[in-house]
């Protein structure tokens, strides 16, 4: 009796062919993007979105053509932080036009089309059993968004990933080998452990697994609290264990102190002040990231 591999095709459903075609559409849509950079962590609440938009604005200020895709479909924040919350998604001649912030940053985020306090819901015949299909559907939506937008010519497309080490790995496999990863952590032992697990998942270190993602650096966020009155940076967390770069080859791009003004600027959708320790750290991170990307094969 014939086996699975003896039969050419799938009898006419073309499901595998459609999945392959969808991947190809995504590749075509991203053809003009020089660097694809996913900002991830694995840990929630470490400031991935803040770091993403901070890096993006620093890169724009350095003359780079930059866009962000908010990959957190359930908790989209980039539309608010970039000030494109009320911009409609406009169908152009060659795909969806990219909404732009006042400083020229392209931002596609479900936050532009979801109500402010509305959860993401999917139509389904098996409501109540979302554990079976929801993760796959969300990844499919991400792929479709990547394929649908007219990204044009970009130097850097930043992807703001949702929390979860497993999600980081899944997105890495969706994006393929051209994607670079920047990990975000905070100086706490708990966060460092989770981020180290994401790093392990992406690189397959020591487990014989093929690497799924190329990690080009990490950012230590909330590295102290910057006091505007006295100018000192005081610790926010107890003395941490060894930083990530002490036990891995991943370089530290920057340590960013917590600054309430930076948080307020993000909430208000406006660019943060640049002459602060946080602003300087973000610019340094952007410079180092760009240098790493440009020197990569």
């Amino acid at each position: 009796m014939k086996g699975y591999r003896d039969i050419v095709g799938d009898g006419g459903s073309q499901i595998v062919a459609q999945v392959v075609a969808a991947r190809q559409s995504m590749t075509r849509a991203l053809a003009g993007v020089r660097h694809l950079v996913a900002v991830a962590s694995g840990k929630g609440g470490v400031g991935k979105s803040t770091v993403t938009i901070g890096l993006a604005r620093a890169l724009v200020a350095a003359g780079q053509r930059v866009a962000i895709l908010d990959c957190d479909l359930n908790g989209p924040t980039q539309a608010q932080m970039a000030g494109v919350r009320d911009q409609p998604w406009v169908p152009g001649e060659e795909g969806l036009e990219l909404p732009r912030s006042a400083d020229g940053l392209g931002v596609l985020s479900l936050g532009s089309v979801l109500g402010r306090e509305t959860a993401l819901r999917f139509d389904a015949v098996s409501q109540g059993d979302e554990q079976v299909w929801r993760g796959t559907r969300e990844l499919t939506v991400l792929g479709q968004l990547l394929a649908a937008v007219r990204w044009g010519e970009l130097d850097v497309l930043l992807l703001d990933l949702p929390p979860g080490a497993e999600r980081t790995l899944q997105v890495a496999q969706l994006l393929g080998p051209r994607a670079a990863f920047v990990l975000v952590t905070v100086p706490s032992a708990v966060a460092r452990e989770v981020v180290a697990r994401s790093l392990d998942a992406l690189t397959g270190n020591g487990h014989g697994a093929a690497p799924s993602g190329r990690v080009v650096g990490y950012v230590e966020n909330m590295a102290g609290y910057w006091c505007r009155d006295c100018g000192a940076v005081r610790p926010l967390f107890p003395a941490a264990e060894a930083p990530l770069h002490a036990t891995s080859t991943v370089p530290l791009l920057a340590s960013i102190p917590f600054d309430p003004a930076l948080a307020a600027a993000c909430d208000g959708g406006s660019p943060p002040a640049v002459d602060t320790p946080a602003g300087e750290a973000l610019r340094a991170a952007a410079r180092r990231l760009l240098a790493t990307l440009e020197s990569s094969p």
């Binding site: 006419g12 929801r134 394929a147 649908a148």
Partner: protein, 136 residues
């Protein structure tokens, strides 16, 4: 998934599929091209969603449902919903060139823009106007 006619050792061909309509799964029928023997594959809701979550069209050109359809229906408070906005064929053609998944979202936002601008028709000129209005 492939289906094999045991008697003929021949792969069966997809004959017809029916999208989910009864709140359960979809049905696909396969037939052996050699002997004509047929089988029907009846999927349960989980299996249906697993296939649908890949964003593929079902056989016979029938599209799976928009995976975000229900999200669009609840994305904004009902009081904000625009009504009575017509689309020209040219504008609809542009809308149709983007994937089904993002179509309702783009449509809703454009209709809101048109209504706020006091326009009752979405045409290509209005789409260009909206694009230019939000370009930096």
């Amino acid at each position: 998934m492939k289906f094999l006619c045991i008697a003929c050792d021949e792969p069966m061909k997809l004959e017809e599929s029916t999208p989910p309509a009864d709140g359960a799964g979809f049905t696909a029928t396969f037939r052996c091209p050699a002997c004509g023997q047929g089988v029907a594959m009846l999927t349960n809701p989980w299996e249906t969603e697993v296939v649908g979550s890949l964003g593929v069209k079902l056989a016979n050109g029938r599209e799976s449902r928009c995976p975000m359809g229900s999200m669009i229906a609840t994305s904004r408070p009902a009081a904000e919903e625009p009504a009575g906005v017509a689309w020209t064929a040219g504008a609809l053609a542009r809308l149709d060139r983007i994937p089904e998944m993002v179509r309702p979202m783009a449509r809703e936002g454009i209709e809101r823009y048109a209504k706020n601008a006091g326009r009752g028709v979405v045409d290509e000129a209005l789409l260009e106007e909206a694009r230019a209005a939000f370009a930096s």
